[in-house]
Amino acid sequence: MFKILSRTFTQHMKEPVRVVVTGGSGQIAYSLLFRIASGSLLGEHQPVILQIYDLPHMQSALKGVVMEISDGAFPLVHEIIASDTPSTVYADADYAFLVGAKPRGPGMERGDLLKQNGEIFVKVGQDLDKFAKKTVKVLAVGNPVNTNALIAMSNAPSIPKENFTAMTRLDHNRALCQLATYLNTEVHNIEKLVIWGNHSPTMFPDLTYTTLHNQKIKTKIDHIWYEKEFIPTVQQRGTAIIAARKASSAASAASAAVDHVRDWALGSNGQWVSMAVPSDLYNGEYGIPIGLIFSYPIVCANGSYQLVKDLKIDEFQHNKLRITVNELLKEKEAVVDLIRK
């Protein structure tokens, strides 16, 4: 474990918050840590203490990342802690980005991926339960994201369930980008786009309520484009980027992670965002069973989030929702022994 400890001379800034990033020596963390350090997450008056985790054999690479953050001369970074010891990394955490996960190896079945990551996230949940603040806001980024978040949540019984979320903001941002191109407009003119369900090929990007300049667009878009081009493009965007870059979409994933937690912490200004959150909070709303982490339309304010309620769901939507619900139920079944009752 090594530490770069600094004392501040300037007294006018707020008290620093502790931000955990796991998988600290990887590609997404590399992009994410520098965005957090720059103030993209909580604004330019909020100092941060970075608490970065990686496995013992990655500590040398992690040391290089810490050196670079130091060389970045960021006014907001008051301390950098890098360690493979959970009691150090998760201590008093205010925010936790769970990026570290086991990637799919050659020949690995989805069931293996679920189980191996499940075991990691059992431990993550237990460590958060023991060491983090009870108010910690948690975002699971490492895949399979919804089920990983569920496992962590169930193994952290002293932390409120609503503090555990999973990231579908990348799909949301990707969908916005595709739609903006199709409508020949800019992303900020589009509102009320929804990503429902699992962060997987079954995720459902829904334009039923979407507006352009506050006018609903559903009747104005070609349904063939919507079903045959828009939905598959959003679902397969990750693959398309790997094909072009020969590397995965780290920067845009990091950007989405920042957007998700920033809006959660600072509010989404009345805008709908997509967040995968515990369905336990909503008692079967929209026909989604309890016991899942499911992406919904959400509005954030005052440091918490609310479901957008009373939306009418038609048959087309209902079928799409059912597919992604069923996939999540199957995933949960594969790791049922890791979910603490």
Binding site: I4, G64, E68, D71
Partner: protein
Amino acid sequence: MSVVKVGVTGAAGQIGYSILPMICSGQMLGADTKIDLALLDIPQCEDALRGVAMEISDSAFPLLNSLKYGSDPREILRDLDVIIFLGGFPRKAGMERKELLQRNMNIFKEQGAALNEVGKPTTLCLVVANPANTNCLVLSHHAPNIPKKNFTAMTRLDHNRASFQIANKVGALTIDVKNVAIWGNHSSTQYPDVNHGTVRGGAIRPAVNDDEWLNGEFISCVQKRGAAIIAARKLSSAMSAAKAAVDHVRDWFLGTKEGEWVSMGVISDGSYGIDAGLCYSFPCTCVNKEWHIVQGLDINEFSRDKMNLTKQELTEERDEAFSA
């Protein structure tokens, strides 16, 4: 909201990948300035460039006004306000310095000529690709329509690294360290000078209280930091280089703070006995999108020797580059 046109060459590379989100999220030109982004890379990197453009679009940055990309400098570098030149020829194992200079010269000659045709006379240029100082000279030489003062080379990374080393030594924050100065070439002959700097408002030398370290290990540590990061990460220091480039452009464009200076490689006007026409790093303040070398700093013998050493290297590089 104002809109600024920003170009990045070598945009498909490692530093490009790091710098583009920083630019688009407002770190470079502030939260009230929209960006028209133009990305250039060589045809061989077409797919990777498209991939990074896709990711920038997918990030839905509110400040990104437009995005274009391609491999034709005459199309991409047209009418820009700021250009960051990341693209250069990397040093390969066994490559002689002469060949490295030659290959980069060819790149910057071509881009200079393109810039001369399509650039604004107010375009601000930052050269990052190594050898940065000499590439900057070549670029400027081939774009005579644009004033020499618009061409700079990056030593901000060395400046930030030096500030951190001092902060770390005394247990302060990096932002508590002000006014270090990087003189000379962005190479192993650079001279990080703490004689005029402060930490927590007090002079650096007495605060550190270890002249042996300041005159020895500190200097070599800053000079070799890049290699140390490669040894740890097995990859080069893309993010911190990107951050330094953003800092350099931000301070040039928006101005330095009262009482503070930064380090920039600029085309010398003869200050401090550095031959006019060399691209040499000096301590500079910035106002109204112009840099001014900080004048009147006391240069002792130790500093003079170091400054001459790096001047000599730059003179040799320049002569080699322009003799071909």
